[in-house]
Symmetry: C2
Subunit: 435 residues, 2 copies
């Protein structure tokens, strides 16, 4: 191999960074053959080098000065794995300005301010790749960006957060409540001490924004994503789903909506009931899966580990090989594609379906009154099931598709009705054909 | 868009070609935005233009002279969809020589003589892309080639032929025999009048060769693939699998084997029993799915429609967008990667496991004699189950892993034993851990 080595700077050496460093060393020969030149570690920026143990490389590579590392003229590619908004944004912008290409796994930053990163990459004629930002090792961004580039994607629906999937799975199999299941996830290392980003859906919303941008060639930021987490999901919700042969999952849903107003995009993250026969219903534990529907290809599914040091490092290295090959050829891969400039649809205008379980008085005319409440909001009912009798009578209503605001207004009205003792469970339904 | 159009020549206008043409016309604006320049049809070569009806483009694009079309100086990309070895090979070589990039779905040609095509592309500094050659619309080649380029793939196992999957599925659900199920597949259009390429595994073997080449960075041709079709699979085999909670699938299996002799590759296509809990066991009908195991990423699965005009056209257009973008930038994507140059392991030396059901005399010592036969070939038994009693006594043996030749020699010996009335079912077992 006569080509001079390409030099890689690592920002961060935690669970993902240390695996990236390990693979760079262990698979040095294979990587060199695939890139066309060796990949060499130029430096590793960490806050406290003394805390990083058992490294398969010279410790002199460590530096605490990330800002200086990314501007070094001998650095060809910067791999950013520190996460969060700052200092990550400043470091990436500086790296691009100083001529390095960038590989990042930073979903929060991409979803909040991808635009300025892409603009900087464009201006510097350098690559910005980020496969590891969504669904860990599962190759999903590249297929959306490249394999389906000749098709029209109409929907992306996925389980993209392993922590919440583990918790909901636990609630489903054991019947336990949310807090108890969260504690177990924390004990097993599937949830962090402060689990807010996961359980309130912020992590999934960032990923949904990135998926929607690529799928629909339009800019979608985290602020555009309607978001509900799983902290309000009750054992009763899960049981109610179970009684209807459904399962509760936290879904990231990106829809291309086409109606009389033209095309628009709606992107949302919320718990929803799926039929147990749906392929996503069987994605268990900390696994991730993404379902893609497109006009020509039909339905595709991508499944694999959604997190973890080595799987995420695999995605980082895949990008690194591409970016390094591009550097050798002095070209860029595809940049940001936002030509479609579609409007973001409000959640209230988004067509959804509801599953509503209510505890009602056991007397004549109750069903008629409930049905009228739905009718007043132009919501049509698909099925009503009565469970139990007398004091325990419960109605489970599944609606047809209606604007989400009409559905939530109906639920508000139900809550105020005298004959309704309690609204036991309200949840959106996804993934089944309307009969 | 001020860039001049890139001109595309289509060879073939059957179920895939006509969909490619339709999408080129219908999605003209989106494609132009994604490529950076419009894509224009330069010509369509078909043998009998009068047989092609309802085309969304000017009929003057039709020509019967494919050889002239591919050499036209105004053609930037040739899309080859006629299949088979000749004239496809000559046309692709001529197209590359005359400066066009090539997108093809021709698995048979790539698996038989990919080397000369890749060499011609290299020499011409043009692209040769072929996502549509394996598993229809499922993006699997690009993830192997690019997303996993920094990882080490150790196994690819997939259902890559929809016809045989439909037939085996039918046999499993209805209990019917092979011939009957094949006839039904033919009646429904899932199998061709001459079904040899599908049912004897030639189609799957070509795809396995392509998958193995990309996964292991080593050249694997169709001739290197051990191949058994499904025409010998009996209703008895399917029932025997069912009784053990397994299902019979035609699998394409690519293994990276590492032992004292170093690394080698073994690639095979044969029917095998899978546990019903395995994700591939639930891939039904004409769907395809590919499971990939790699060192860092772990297990990934890709699932979707394995054939059909529109899905395959989606894959062709994804390649077309990439190839066209490369033309605009005057660069090439990754070419053939065969640096690893691994040896191909004989099927006889390949570690496999067998499920053997035998009809035996009902007398003392039978089990001991059978066990001795296995032991004489150094094959260790994982489980033996006796089904039925008296005249109907049946033994079902599942072995541990052993070289395939030792397993087949054991079966030969069983066939010759006096106490063995009949060997009812012999099939390899895949996808389960050895207890």
């Amino acid at each position: 191999m006569s080509r001079p080595a390409l030099r890689v700077a690592l920002l961060g050496c935690g669970s993902v960074g240390s695996q990236v460093a390990r693979l760079l060393v262990e698979q040095r020969a294979d990587l060199a053959a695939r890139v066309g030149a060796p990949l060499e570690l130029a430096g590793i920026a960490v806050r406290r080098p003394q805390l990083v143990r058992d490294v398969p490389f010279d410790r002199s590579l460590f530096t605490t000065d990330a800002a200086a590392l990314v501007t070094r003229p001998d650095v060809d590619v910067v791999v950013e794995l520190i996460g969060g908004i700052e200092p990550a944004r400043g470091l990436i912008l500086s790296a691009l300005e100083h001529g390095a290409s960038v590989v990042t796994a930073n979903k929060a930053l991409l979803a909040e301010d991808g635009a300025s990163l892409f603009a900087a990459a464009e201006k510097a004629t350098r690559d910005l790749y980020f496969e590891a930002a969504v669904a860990g090792a599962i190759p999903i961004l590249r297929p959306l960006r490249e394999s389906l580039a000749g098709d029209r994607v109409t929907r992306v629906i996925g389980i993209v957060n392993g922590t919440t999937n583990f918790i909901l799975d636990k609630m489903d199999t054991s019947g336990s409540g949310f807090s108890e299941s969260l504690e177990e996830a924390q004990a097993l290392g599937y949830a962090e001490a402060d689990p807010t980003a996961d359980i309130e859906g912020f992590d999934a919303a960032a990923k949904a924004a990135i998926l929607a941008s690529l799928a629909f060639h339009s800019r979608v930021t985290a602020a555009d994503v309607y978001r509900e987490g799983i902290s309000e999901v009750t054992a009763m919700d899960v049981a109610s789903a179970k009684s209807m042969n459904r399962v509760v999952k936290l879904l990231a849903i990106c829809d291309l909506v086409e109606d009389s107003h033209g095309r628009s995009v709606c992107v949302r993250v919320h718990p929803a009931m799926l039929p147990r026969s749906h392929p996503l219903a069987n994605v268990n534990g900390a696994f991730n899966a993404v379902f893609v529907e497109s006009e020509a290809a039909g339905q595709l599914m991508f499944y694999g580990p959604g997190a973890g040091g080595a799987p995420t490092a695999s995605a980082v290295l895949g990008d690194l090989v591409t970016v390094a090959r591009n550097r050798l050829q002095d070209v860029r891969g595809a940049g940001e594609s936002t030509y479609a400039q579609l409007e973001i649809r409000d959640m209230g205008d988004t067509p959804t379906r509801y599953h509503v379980a209510i505890d009602v008085d056991d007397r004549a005319g109750v069903l008629a009154s409930v049905a009228q409440a739905f009718a007043r909001h132009d919501v049509s009912i698909q099925t009503v099931r009565q469970e139990g009798r007398g004091r325990d009578a419960q109605l489970v209503v599944v609606t047809h598709t209606a604007p989400d605001s009409a559905l939530s207004a109906t639920v508000e009205e139900l809550r105020r009705m005298d004959i309704v003792r309690d609204v036991i469970s309200v949840m959106r339904v996804e993934g089944e054909a309307e009969a």
